[in-house]
Symmetry: C2
Subunit: 301 residues, 2 copies
């Protein structure tokens, strides 16, 4: 078989998903939802972001969420931090892992973080150093790897350069983001072939948005390149507030459904996942884009 | 490159798409839409179905549509026919090709055609014989190849048996249908590996529905098996009225968008395709499931 037998999914819905929803979810509902997610078999949940509430008001309750959830042994509870101030709050909540983020394209980085890439790197370096010193693992997010909403094409040389800088800071894993959902399978194959000459597949995750419906096809091609780690958001929540035209992350339930069908082990219970998706869908009050959620609804209704 | 350089798309929206829409489209709008489709670079358009209007009221105007459209040279205009009565009407309209259909699962065939598979085959044989004698090519549709809404799993032996009977009637091409959108990439690979031991890839088309979001991934795996012919419906129209939980065909515009990005030639103009998708979307008055149509709308709006 040309596909691996086991994969690891990283649930980013409570952070990457909710940060871009118009409806704010009550803190107690977020906590209840994350507690449901903790019982699906997921081993990583990114629970919130410690960015300034001015930028992401939907996650202004980061501390209450991170402190309020049940922590199930064996699950890594992560949070996004933009700088040392955010890190201090994350550490005060004793998250297991912190995520740092930067873009591969200058314009997107500036719109997102208000700094150039070279100005951002020292900030991230300090955050990573302090987090590692505090005994936390660090995850890196690299955005706009497959295309930028402002610049268009993004150079893979640039991706490799910024990725190398992040690994040099001591990150354990790097998540390569198709922030605006433009990647196609041939491009994913081409880019990964180059990237995997520099970094081992076990330390690379892929983060696809399903804007143009290609996320599952891109995951399939990534699998064929030896990638076994994928980010996803339950129900297909989320997007990127600074990327025009971006729609949600690929839906965790769609990914799990495909892997289950293919006989690839995820350790995740699809029924519990769908129940959690229905919960957050009801709280948001809008139909989420997940295909399996929709198909399950049709079968019932 | 592990993918072919050129593929052929078969537009089934005016038939497989519209037959399952609740809103009936005015005959003049159907004709205007098909005339738009004829100018996108498509080389095959299935324009209607000559089934009894009692079963598919949305296509009761089959004759007016087939006679009313402009026939652009180089395009094959096909129509579905269930029996000799339907064939006579199709021949009277001088369609270029007729499509015959049957299911790989007994229960689905009975619900769809009200006959067993062995009762259906002689009917199709007579239709094919007469169509070929009239100088028309014949296309075969085999439904529920990857799963049946009533029986669940479908035996690939049975698929091969019915496929062989259809090729024996003189069909030029066989379209293998994932009628309820349950196929996954590993299954598609497995089933195609077996089928392609019996029939050449050039005479097999794949017909995926995107019910669970896997259609593009399934197309990718089919490409890797040497398949170059795919059915699709503009905007993701359609489904199957007798298959509970079935949603639309994979969207032609999503397929073309992916192939364009991958550098695989389709000969189809994406902008003209999107314009035609917007037209039929406005006439139906509901948001179609196509991802690229949605992404294009967001970029504009």
């Amino acid at each position: 078989m040309k596909w691996p037998q086991t994969v690891v999914l990283k649930e980013v819905g409570p952070r990457d998903g909710l940060q871009n929803e118009k409806t704010c979810i009550a803190t107690e509902d977020k906590i209840a939802w994350i507690n449901q997610l903790s019982r699906t078999g997921l081993t990583y949940i990114e629970v919130t972001s410690f960015v300034h509430p001015q930028w992401i008001p939907a996650l202004a309750d980061a501390e209450a969420v991170a402190k309020g959830i049940e922590r199930v042994p064996g699950i890594t509870y992560g949070a996004l931090v933009p700088n040392q101030k955010g890190l201090a709050k994350a550490l005060a909540c004793d998250v297991d892992e912190v995520s740092i983020f930067i873009s591969a394209s200058e314009t997107h980085n500036r719109k997102n973080i208000n700094k150039s890439i070279s100005e951002s790197l020292p900030v991230l370096r300090d955050v990573a150093k302090e987090a590692l010193a505090a005994g936390k693992s660090v995850r890196g997010y690299l955005s706009t790897v497959f295309g930028c909403p402002y610049e268009g094409a993004v150079s893979t040389d640039q991706v490799i350069r910024v990725a190398a800088a992040l690994f040099d800071m001591g990150i354990g894993e790097l998540s390569l983001g198709d922030t605006i959902g433009v990647a196609n399978p041939a491009q994913v194959q081409r880019v990964l072939e180059r990237i995997l000459k520099h970094f081992p597949a076990e330390r690379i995750a892929l983060h696809f948005h399903d804007t143009r419906g290609m996320a599952l096809a891109n995951i399939l091609v990534s699998l064929e390149q030896g990638i076994t780690r994928f980010d996803a958001a339950l129900g297909g929540l989320g997007g990127c507030p600074y990327a025009p035209g971006a729609s949600g992350n690929v839906a965790t339930d769609d990914v799990v459904h495909m892997f289950n069908g293919m006989g690839i082990h995820t350790g995740i219970d699809q029924e519990k996942l769908l129940a959690a998706a229905r919960f957050i869908q009801s709280r948001l009050g809008r139909k989420l884009p997940s295909h399996t959620l929709c198909a399950a609804g049709e079968a019932i209704g």
